[in-house]
Symmetry: C2
DNA sequence: CAATGTAAAGGACATTTGTCCCATGCTTCA
DNA sequence: TGAAGCATGGGACAAATGTCCTTTACATTG
């Protein structure tokens, strides 16, 4: 549920300390909105510490959370090549420490550092591999099963992540989430 | 709804005709299952002609279609690096013509041909960019809106793609699809 | 040619989920 | 400190969707 990428985190840290490329540290307070959907930005970020949410809002103001991003996860990388607008907003849930670099630096790294290139391709592939079954599962199983699954993956999620965000992650309303949580408490007792 | 990638299609064709790399043509009849979910394969495919569906099945036998793949779309690429099992099954909907190469050749190409490398990264990024809003939209809007949207993107979809597949793509049952189609016919008249 | 299988359409009912409320407790802030 | 705002929890009802079943038409095959 909260995605991480230790390998990339370590590598970026190494690149940053080498000072061979223009990579900066940049920190954000909780609730800071770093990317706003449909806007254009020139930077790529990699999370060092903390957690952010990446979400899509529709015209009715409903949010749909794509991923919770933890250490080593990057964002802004999908827009590097064609200088596209973002598809997601990104907001810090906890205080966030990141490394950041320009599109230009990112492309330069991709072109010259084959290890970085491989790590980025793997990261992209993993985002796809992860997304597919998640949405599939959420459609085919009742809410309670989804909650049990999350609980298994990340036991403290109900404490760390606000209810509204959990609901938006599963793609349901807070009301339905509450109903499901109550029934889990009644049944399995100990949720 | 049916994804294509003309740029990659053209480039692979060029690579194939150059004979510099070991790339083969391989064709499949409609309904052939090319990849079975959770198995391991050693090849990457790029579609030349025809259409395939890429889908996840759950234990109850329900399918969830991820993408309809048209010319220029690749599959099997996500498993190249760590020799992972597939997350999706892939089945030809129409007779399918592909180019195919081994994982080894694919990695060699990524490492030595920077234009290929860039095309692949873009293709991965586009898969992600495309997936996110689709699932989000499907959750937040009524079925009828989703159908109108598909109709706009690809007017003949109801003729080309079997009903069951359309339902599995939207993530609903054929029954619900029929209901929605009927109401669209009654209202907008001309669906 | 009969037989079997499969896609499509839809009726009837059950279930799930959403919508719209209201109430409570906690935090924030002027 | 009082007011406003927000997260949480849940009742009552409405709407959307699924389940189960039956029918029809058409294709495939022994």
């Amino acid at each position: 549920m909260i995605r991480t990428n230790p390998e990339l985190a370590a590598y970026i840290h190494k690149l940053w300390s080498s000072r061979d490329y223009s990579i900066q540290e940049m920190d954000f307070n909780a609730k800071t909105i770093i990317f706003e959907q449909d806007k254009r930005y020139g930077k790529v970020y990699v999370i060092r510490e903390g957690m952010a949410k990446c979400y899509i809002s529709d015209e009715n103001g409903k949010d749909f959370i794509q991923e919770f991003l933890g250490p080593g996860m990057e964002f802004g990388e999908l827009e590097v090549f064609d200088n596209l607008t973002t598809i997601c907003s990104v907001e810090a849930i906890q205080n966030l420490k990141t490394f950041t670099m320009s599109h230009q630096t990112y492309q330069q790294l991709l072109a010259t550092d084959s290890q970085f290139n491989t790590l980025v391709i793997k990261a992209l592939a993993n985002k796809i591999r992860y997304k597919a079954p998640r949405h599939s599962y959420q459609h085919s199983y009742p809410i309670e099963d989804n909650l049990l699954r999350l609980k298994k993956q990340f036991p403290e999620f109900t404490e760390v992540i606000p209810k509204k965000d959990i609901a938006n992650y599963i793609g349901i309303t807070p009301r339905s989430l509450n109903r499901a949580l109550r029934e889990l408490k009644d049944k399995h007792n100990g949720f």
